[in-house]
Point group: C2
Chain length 240, copies 2
């Protein structure tokens, strides 16, 4: 491990770096195991002696590091045995929107929220998420880690959301304060579910494309729900 | 503003400090407004010229600071006009457990998760949360900020959870992999809802007190849901 290599890994904390590189960073034995299971291409692994994982056919050059070096490389508060560089993949297969529910994120800003939303979508069996180009970046290490491995299964596409929703002519579910209660409304099985920005909600051009406006009834004093919690609640009612 | 005062505010980043002081830190006009509405005692306010808030009868000594000083005092990535010191309150009123659903948190570790759970509980009208003594600390600035003001309405009690659940003889709802689907099970209206630690779940002494084991059906690849998302989904089905 030389100084340049150390600096290179550390620089993944900065957007300029994680957005532009052809690889991204994952940390911990569990994440690496999930990446291997998903047949991701692992370029390089930094692991402590403690790490007992098996790379199988995923290749990847393994370099042993001590706990102090792992701590210096890591982007986590509690580094965990292994850090790996994984190749980014292009999502090129066309999506058949009519056959599934596709999640649409309009300007989600918090990396932890984005990661948790990807994990929640995976739990409920969704496979694709469309995001506006001002949404938090997928390859931000904070997003990747908070997906808990779901980033390897759910495909996230930066997409011209408005254009796609207009063109597809499918049901568009969206949470609006004025929407009908999810407890009384039957949700369509296919189409889109739009989740808006944490403080501003869904932007008006996209709002106007909503065909099924829903709301989660409020029984207390909070003014809003966390975006990932709201996503989970709507998806749970959609599956019910 | 002298050096000691600056150091004092900054030290709220450390547990030793926020756990022991008689005050805690809140940031941003919205949080301060909620604190005033909840009749909290505000001890001191540091605000930029931009801040237009009104303290009403809540008192509090106001000191004007510039943006640079606000940035040095702040615990946020994006400081927001005002930082205030609020007096901690003792929750001494006895709880009538038979008349409500009380949330029980068994070892939640992540401050953001705890804050989001408090906010979610508030949305669904819960007023009390019991936490085991190894749960993330309520007065951690990260917890307080992520409640988005719900910390002023929902009372969080560090409590001998096992003893209370045993004594009260009320329904105890808990999420377990082996539980019955929340989609088919009618949840009791009063009693307790137990949410377990992010990776270890509910500890066995508390597990054995569960009378209504429930699960959220899994339709995809994720192994688990985020604790706050799971709380929201169960509470939503409980209210439905």
């Amino acid at each position: 491990m030389n100084k340049n290599e150390l600096k290179y890994i550390q620089s993944f904390a900065h957007k300029k770096h994680w957005a532009q590189e052809s690889v991204y960073i994952i940390e911990g034995p569990k994440m690496l195991e999930e990446a291997i299971k998903a047949k991701c291409v692992i370029e390089k692994i930094y692991a402590t002696k403690e790490w007992q994982g098996n790379l199988g056919n995923s290749g990847g050059d393994i370099e042993e590091v001590d706990d102090i070096m792992l701590g210096r490389l890591s982007h986590l508060q509690t580094p965990n045995q292994v850090i790996a560089l994984v190749q980014k993949q292009q999502n090129i297969a066309p999506i058949d929107y009519a056959k599934q529910l596709t999640l649409v994120l309009d300007g989600i800003q918090d990396p932890g929220n984005l990661g948790t939303i990807i994990r929640t979508a995976d739990w409920f069996g969704l496979t694709d998420i469309l995001v506006t180009d001002d949404t938090a970046g997928l390859y931000n290490p904070k997003v990747i880690q908070s997906t808990m491995g779901s980033c390897f299964r759910v495909k996230v596409h930066i997409a011209p959301v408005e254009k796609i929703l207009t063109k597809e002519k499918l049901p568009v579910i969206g949470t609006l304060l004025s929407g009908a209660s999810i407890y009384t409304q039957k949700l369509p099985t296919n189409g889109f579910l739009v989740i808006g920005n944490e403080s501003k909600g869904i932007r008006s051009p996209i709002q106007s494309l909503i065909t099924h406006a829903v709301s989660i009834p409020n029984f207390g004093g909070a003014e809003s729900l966390n975006a990932a919690v709201a996503t989970g609640i709507v998806l749970s009612h959609w599956k019910q």
